[in-house]
Amino acid sequence: MLAVVWLAALTLLAATVELLPVPAYDSIVGAPFQPMLSPDAPLGTDAIGRSIFSRAIYGARASLTFGFIAAVIALVLGGLLGLVAGYFRGVMETLVDLCSEVVQAFPAMLFLVALAAAIRPSLATLTISMAVLMVPAFARMMKGAVLAQTGREFVSAARAQGAGPLRIMFREILPNTLMSIASFGIMVMATLIVIEGSVSFLGYGIPAPQPSWGGMVAESQSQLATQPAAVMIPIVFLFLTVFALNTLSDWMRSRFDVGQNQI
């Protein structure tokens, strides 16, 4: 599985980058726009003379932690909300629907731009705000999955056994929705990384000098005609990562579906 290899390698690099003999992301290692394979900068240098490789790896760290943590927070919160809303219906369901409608109809970019100005953007604030933004999506998705599961006979069977709502939600319904919500989570993680890239590209994301793939593209975008590498390398990193995550999510879903069919 190439996707897993790429993700694992990237995660490993990102996690251990301080121990590796690569320059810091904000130190100048040479003249601007050094070509590939120069000493200290295997992928060349950017407009300021920093190593693109270092920055791409540190950017991976930012993107991966951001995407992962935001997705997990949103998954847990949204999952629980959706579980409750899907099982009890009523007011909770209306509320979840309303929230998700509001969030979906609200221009996310406006929210992020305003947020970037209102509170000082940092990886943490960005993570939390994106997580909050994604909660309704998970809630809605979970609600759908729960509704589908609640209609299945084994839930009735559990109730007929005298199981209470908590037991049914967590023992019967939740395990059956985990795979689909997890694969959705991975897809959302990919989406989040794209959003982070876009926000950073517009200049409202992860604050400089911390590298972010979107920010790296923006910093060199005007040199696209003369220095395509500086623009394309972060795009390639971003693309491969998102591609790998999407592939992983697809794979999980297809596994899940097959499991479903075999039953």
């Binding site: 810091a24 300021i48 003379g49 920093r50 005007s222």
Partner: protein, 503 residues
């Protein structure tokens, strides 16, 4: 660029006719000069120049004032009363005459609105219409160089009739005496202008029409011109070398005029760490400003500003220079400050944008090579940054958007350095500098002025209140066939002569 420039001469005379499309950076805010507080050539000023023409023109290199709509502007002997004489027979496109009353009305209008940078100053003037073509202006503190302020910041005159007819809507329906008349305006998109048939200069403007289009992204502007969909981009002062070479690569030409002044980064002299001269000096010594210029402009040929005035300027002092980089000394100063319990920990308020962002990151990266110094970059949008830096003065370093230019030290250098002056956001205050600036303002004698400004330059190099980076250049990127381009010190195009080469 030399080759391309050689093939086309931007000042060569244009043939009559044709329609020119210029790409703009900044969306149109208003066509009312009373609403413009920046006079930026990249924004409304260039548009207004087409509609209103200019009263006086300030030469970008020599700092000389040339008459345009006005015939002359002269002071009395101490510079407390100025007389503005207007040309005969100039009228607005609505047919009403551009006379002394119109000028008075315009300045009063600006003062009343209270938005333009000179609004407060005008409020203290006494204006008197002596005869239909003569306006007398009495100013509270003598200034031998008010004509430069007028040429620089108050060159546009509105039609009083039009303003009074529709005060609400005037900002989008301007009436002036310029070479062009606004015929279509789509906010945030484009404007179309047609030649003013009654323009006061015979045979001008050259062009039949003008179209100004908004394209905020720099690379896109060049690509658009290269693709033939536009002819020229608005003059700007932060020419990014990568952009220029990109333009060259696509067969475009660019013209530049170097000016005194430079890319300018405020340092907050009113609070630690930069209330200490040593901290400011240490930053100067730590940075390699040439490298900074190269990174910011994205060009290996870029150079840093090394004197306040360019060599062509009468105030150029070749030996009064910015300090050379000296890492050891910088480190020593940082250590010294840290030892005194005043470590250099600075918050850098950055304004979103590519050049700004590179500059900030270069400074951060460079200073991070030193001990006892740290930089924390916070990027904000223009308005938020403005509130932080200009209103609240809650910053340590922050870039001036664009370059700070003074073709003549009046009024630019005065506004920048004298205590409490309009643009003195650094909070710099030095009695000696204040005195020298005031003395220079009060005299018209070139030698006297030169002496006073030498003192100012010497004090500046001692105190280093802010960080000057690269030399500003008014740059135009255009198709080779565009010609007749000239601009004032602000980089505002003088539209009448602009046109296409005859062939």
């Amino acid at each position: 660029s030399t080759e391309a420039a050689a093939q086309s001469d931007p000042t060569r005379e244009a043939a009559a006719g044709g329609e020119l499309t210029m790409l703009m950076y900044v969306p149109t805010r208003s066509f009312d000069p009373a609403d413009d507080n920046t006079m930026a050539s990249t924004g409304d000023a260039t548009r207004m120049s087409a509609v209103y023409d200019l009263l006086l023109v300030l030469d970008p290199v020599t700092g000389e004032v040339r008459p345009q709509l006005a015939e002359s502007m002269t002071p009395n002997e101490d510079g407390s009363v100025w007389t503005l004489k207007l040309r005969e027979g100039v009228s607005f496109s609505d047919g009403t005459p551009l006379d002394a009353e119109a000028v008075r009305f315009t300045y009063q209008h600006i003062a009343d609105k209270g938005i333009a940078s000179q609004a407060r100053a005008i409020a203290s003037w006494k204006m008197e219409v002596v005869d239909p073509l003569t306006l007398q202006i009495t100013i509270p503190s003598p200034n031998m160089h008010l004509d430069r302020t007028i040429a620089d910041a108050l060159p546009f005159i509105v039609s009083p009739t039009a303003v009074q007819a529709d005060p609400e809507g005037y900002s989008s329906k301007p009436v002036g005496a310029g070479p062009f008349v606004l015929s279509e305006y789509v906010p945030d998109d484009y404007e179309v202008y047609t030649a003013n048939a009654d323009y006061w200069q015979e045979g001008l403007p050259k062009l039949d029409g003008l179209r100004l289009e908004l394209v905020p992204d720099a690379a896109q502007r060049i690509n658009t011109i290269a693709s033939g969909a536009a002819n020229v981009q608005a003059p700007s002062s932060d020419a990014d070398a990568a952009l220029l070479s990109n333009a060259e690569g696509q067969g475009l030409v660019h013209f530049g005029v170097e000016q005194s002044g430079g890319g300018w980064i405020y340092m907050n002299n009113e609070r630690p760490p930069f209330d200490d001269e040593r901290a400011r000096r240490a930053v100067y010594l730590a940075l390699d400003r040439t490298e900074l210029a190269q990174v910011a402009l994205g060009s290996a040929d870029a150079t840093a500003i090394d004197t306040l005035f360019v060599a062509d300027s009468p105030y150029h002092e070749s030996e009064v220079r910015f300090p050379e980089p000296d890492a050891e000394e910088a480190q020593r100063l940082f250590d010294e400050l840290a030892a005194e319990g005043r470590p250099v920990e600075l918050s850098y308020i950055n304004i979103a944008g590519e050049v700004n962002s590179r500059t900030a990151q270069y400074i951060q990266a460079k200073l991070s090579e030193f001990e006892n110094v740290s930089v924390d970059i916070e990027t904000l949008d223009v308005t938020a940054a403005r509130e932080r830096v200009f209103v609240n003065r809650d910053y340590d370093m922050s870039p001036y958007p664009g370059a700070y230019k003074f073709p003549d030290p009046e009024p630019g250098l005065f506004n920048l350095l004298s205590t409490g002056a309009m643009w003195n956001t650094t909070g710099y205050s030095d009695p000696e500098v204040d005195a020298a600036l005031a003395a220079a303002r009060a005299t018209a004698d070139p030698e006297e002025r030169r002496a006073q400004y030498r003192t100012v330059q010497e004090r500046f190099m001692e105190d280093l209140p802010g960080l000057f980076t690269f030399t500003p250049t008014i740059t135009v990127i255009a198709e080779p066939k565009v010609t007749g381009l000239s601009y004032n010190a602000r980089g505002v195009v003088s539209w009448p002569e602009v046109g296409f080469a005859a062939d």
